[in-house]
């Protein structure tokens, strides 16, 4: 499970460099996210631009990551591919997460305030 991270505008930008988050890797994804984002900036932006496919196990893992960040920290999403976006929309998890269309939008708010 390859994740790339960078700190950007006082947020942690996590790029998932994998084509799938499915039942074969959902637990590994959650564990790796705990490693890279277990502590750190309050705001975590998960970039799913490379992820073509996410099943219900992967969706559950993303929800679990949000919970493991704990109170006072937020998990936001950006760069959803069409199939992944549809899974979030159908399950109404698009109401639970702040979803940005792309990386620029994910970090634009902070920049305009600064």
């Amino acid at each position: 499970m390859e994740l790339h991270t960078e700190t950007r505008d006082e947020a942690l930008h996590v790029i998932v460099a994998e084509p799938r988050i499915d039942s074969a890797v959902a637990i590994r994804f959650k564990d790796r996210m705990r490693e890279v984002a277990g502590d750190g900036p309050a705001r975590v932006v998960l970039d799913l631009g490379a992820v073509d496919f996410l099943d219900s196990s992967g969706l559950g893992a993303v929800v679990a990551v949000m919970k493991l960040l704990g109170p006072g920290r937020t998990l936001e999403l950006c760069n959803l591919t069409p199939n992944v976006e549809k899974v979030f929309r159908l399950t109404r998890m698009d109401r639970v997460f702040t979803i940005h269309p792309d990386t620029e939008a994910a970090f634009a708010d902070k920049r305009s305030i600064a």
């Binding site: 074969a24 219900s56 969706l59 919970k67 069409p82 199939n83 549809k86 998890m93 639970v96």
Partner: protein, 166 residues
């Protein structure tokens, strides 16, 4: 009467590996072991067979989502008691739809009926949004004409899924 053993392999149907899809191959069942990597190979084979003829950006998106949930359920529930049996997948394109027939030899559906697929809500869990329970919701949202039968130790789930992008 289908026997569980013939053609069971590590993933891809042997005669189809590395070749362009042919009409004869389309009728062959895809047989995989009931585990997460078996599910992956079944989905890859589905794409290999139908992607070249499907128009549009990704007409197999809905099919892949539904099939993944159906196959994951077989792995996690039908064969949950330590079984690692086969899953047989038969696919046929019917115009704008994919006709799907999934067979396994694990436990029957509870009470012999398909789950309702109600969407889990935040109210169901005390600690925020649900982390599971989405599988049957997605299947019911995207599949059409679902039917389930249990005969001679075989589960058989049949349905159609539109060939449409997300």
């Amino acid at each position: 009467m289908t026997h569980p053993d013939p053609m069971r392999g590590g993933g891809l149907t042997p005669s189809n590996a590395g070749q362009s899809p042919a009409d004869a191959d389309a009728a062959l069942p895809i047989v995989v072991d009931a585990n997460p990597m078996g599910v992956r190979s079944a989905l890859a084979e589905m794409r290999a067979r139908f992607a070249p003829t499907a128009p549009g950006p990704d007409m197999l998106g809905m099919a892949e989502t539904v099939l993944a949930e159906v196959l994951n359920n077989v792995v996690e529930h039908a064969y949950r008691r330590g079984g690692n049996g086969p899953i047989e997948l038969r696919l046929e394109r019917c115009g704008g739809r994919l006709k799907v027939d999934v067979r396994d030899y694990g436990d029957p559906m509870p009470d012999g009926v398909l789950p309702s697929g109600a969407l889990p809500t935040c109210e169901d869990a005390e600690d925020g949004p649900p982390e599971g329970g989405f599988g049957w919701f997605l299947i019911r949202a995207l599949a059409r004409d679902l039917s389930y039968t249990r005969e001679n130790g075989q589960n058989r789930l049949r349905f159609f899924v539109p060939l449409a992008d997300a």
